[in-house]
Amino acid sequence: MAHILIIDDNYEILEMLKTILGQRETHQISLSANGKDGLAQALKERPDLAIVDVMMPEMSGYEVVRRLRADSNTADMGIIILTARGQAVDKAAALEAGASHYMSKPVNAQELLEAVNKILTVPPAQKGSVLYPVFSLRGGVGVTTLAVNLALLLQHLSATALIDFSPNSGHCASYLGLRPRQHWGQFIQKDTDSTIGSLTMKHHSGLRLLAAPPIPIPTEQLAEATVELLLAVLQKYLHFVVVDMPPVLNSTSTLILEKATRVILVSGSDSPGLQTTLRTVQALQEYHHKLVLVLNHIAPGRQLPLSTVQRALHIPITAQIPYYAQEIATKQAGAPAVLSQPKSPVVSNLQQVVRTLLRK
């Protein structure tokens, strides 16, 4: 059962859609009779899907859709535009505004149900390119571990690629128990005729890994154009792309942050870690709406109260990853927690991060 918000100034349409979707399909239905209220309701309730009329007084459906897409909390919500304006220009305008689907009135109940079910069952990646960089400006806070585990969790949902963009001999491959025979360094050094796809390695989970070069390379060799091309190719064929980001803020990392759907900002829980995170949040003010903050406890012992940390960082903490004593062992075994300890608190907290990313 999904939560569906219907925004239409036509009382009969509201009642009809409520009957079709709420009684026949037993979805949870919210109704709104104008664009302004509907937008406020959508931002507050964050439904799985909104069905939006175009011609409404005060605020048109196009404007509602644009504002929902502009808000990070509703940016990937399924949206169907349902309008009596049934011309090709209207369909183009609806999709341009950001609707997932367009239907013209009068609507056929069966077609509507098919469209609703399609949107509700399709992974968010198919609604657009989904790119999740995992990032921290402080090394040693568990960015790679989190990136690998998040990629494995997303792979359970749909085809996923993990890119290790470390220029200093990254570790994603070894954490997954793989040897980086192929890596993106071969692409930029042009010592192979291989395509980008063939440079990825397939983990037994199905996850595709684009590994880092085993021998460190100068960071300037990883040009923005190369990064853009690598991302474009992988995003074309895979639903989710997770990036293990190096702890630097240069032009290529800025490019990735710009293209990101969400940025998973990893913070250590110690004072220096929190200090770096605070400054990073300030530096990334432009991307504030994309940030998903994960507090990673990388050492055992007493921690600062969460409320204190929260106050200091000025940004909501999406999840805390508890200290995980077996982490070193899982790395050595090439078996990340998602695969070796799927019931552990670490994994359940990471699932919370995934739910946040997917808005589920």
Partner: protein, 172 residues
Amino acid sequence: MRVKNRAQTPVEFFSQSYRLSCTFDARRHSLGDLLYATTSAYLMLDNAYISPIDHPSRISADYPRVIIIKESLTFALTTYRDDALRRDQKYGSYLGTQLTAVFITLPHFDISGELRIPGRFDPRVLLSSQTGMFITLLNVTARLTSNPEITYHGEAAIVNKNQVSFMGLSDR
């Protein structure tokens, strides 16, 4: 909330500069009946959303009720044929009906469609002798002259004869 009842039928009106999407009450009369009626020079319509014709998806104004001056209209477009036909046009003719492909130029638009004419088709009669202000076309594609990528489709259009500059006729 604006109350729309079951008989509220959507229709698109086009003037020289604007696209107007609105609804009309079709319980007693079709749009054809209302437009062809010579007893009134205007139409009262509900829930109107107005767009410039060169930005047809941008809603620049909306009003719960509008009055349309019939002689200023370029054409009206309906999704369904029956919404546009007059009562007498919905039935057959002793003389039979024939469909004739036509191409019409209007201010800012050109329209391709079919004329359904009872009996023998005579364009002179259609444009000059008949007293009605409008003609009805079926299976219509209207194209914005300045931007041919912007097209409108409908099962029927009611075109203001006074706005027609050229009419191309198929000889089939």
